[in-house]
Symmetry: C2
Subunit: 198 residues, 2 copies
């Protein structure tokens, strides 16, 4: 279609965005170039800068601009607890509960055989090394309660259990404020199995 | 959530992408930084480069790296015909028909009062100036057959008609290969109104 090569290259490069095919890439390119050049310039700079400065915290594996992130370097946090989450967004949710003051380990993913992500791709050995820290008394598994998150938790529990580390998992059950009538039966069944003495 | 500022800035900048809200922006940022750093780097460079080098062709208004695009500079094209389309993607579709050898004018949009895009924002005066070229014998309106595209065509037809320029519009009707049973009644009604003698 003899469009300028810089435009073709941009449309092709936009396909690095998750879920963006050729038609969407074209639409996005036109939008950025035509309707939001200022936003586009900011995006190009922010992306380049983030790639330059962001790395993974040596302790918790989340994105950080320093070797050790602020949270891991904070002596106020309880270093005897290590909470394992899938993504930084999950860590943020845990923090928003204001119910946890321990440290974290962020997997940056989950086991997902279909996507070719196994224990090696998840770098579980880095987690094992982190959990071997003598300060850690308990590892709390807070991966998602999806099939993949459960499988991930299961494998980590096995690996850590074999090393004599105490491991726990967030409880499953009816959501706070939830009505049984509007809760799925699988969750109710699980809440029954994991019922607690009162 | 005390995430690194370069990450926050990237997530915020990603919202320049059409239809991307805070949650999607976060997901895209993690994807680019974690799973596709090479693609992300390429995107940052392609976006910056496109912003640097792309401009609008002085004659047809489409994206070009030169003052006059290759198509407008091609003496083989019939300069007596000027086809008005909304976007470069529409131009590409017209070209793929191999049924047109005239020149184009790309509006880079359509009238859309709800989005604040009126005749001024569409720079219709640039089109009027282009159509005033003595070589142009006919302007063919090929905006979409949506409400906005029809309104755009209508306004352009009025403006050009007042200046004595011959204006035509792509015909509406049943698609080639289309079965009446599976064609919407509005299209069939229009095909009836615009029926041609055989």
């Amino acid at each position: 279609m003899s469009s300028p090569s810089s435009l073709d290259e941009l449309i092709d490069a936009l396909r690095a965005l998750p879920g963006v095919g050729p038609k969407s890439a074209q639409r996005i390119a036109y939008h950025l170039l035509q309707r939001d050049q200022r936003g586009a310039g900011r995006l190009a700079r922010a992306l380049g800068h983030a790639l330059d400065v962001l790395r993974h915290c040596e302790r918790c594996n989340t994105f950080a601009e320093t070797a050790i992130c602020q949270r891991c370097a904070n002596p106020q946090r309880d270093s005897s607890l290590l909470c394992v989450v899938e993504m930084p967004a999950d860590l943020a949710m845990m923090e928003q509960t204001h119910a946890y003051n321990g440290l974290y380990y962020v997997l940056m993913g989950r086991l997902s055989p279909l996507d070719g992500i196994g224990p090696r791709e998840l770098k579980l050995d880095k987690l094992l090394a982190r959990a071997a820290d003598s300060a850690v008394r308990e590892v709390i598994l807070a991966t998602n309660f999806t099939n993949e998150g459960e499988a991930t938790a299961h494998m980590i529990a096995e690996l850590l259990g074999a090393r004599g580390v105490a491991v726990s998992r967030l409880s499953r059950g009816v959501p706070v404020g939830g009505e049984l009538e509007h809760t799925d039966t699988g969750t109710i069944a699980q809440a029954l199995v994991e019922r607690r003495a009162v």
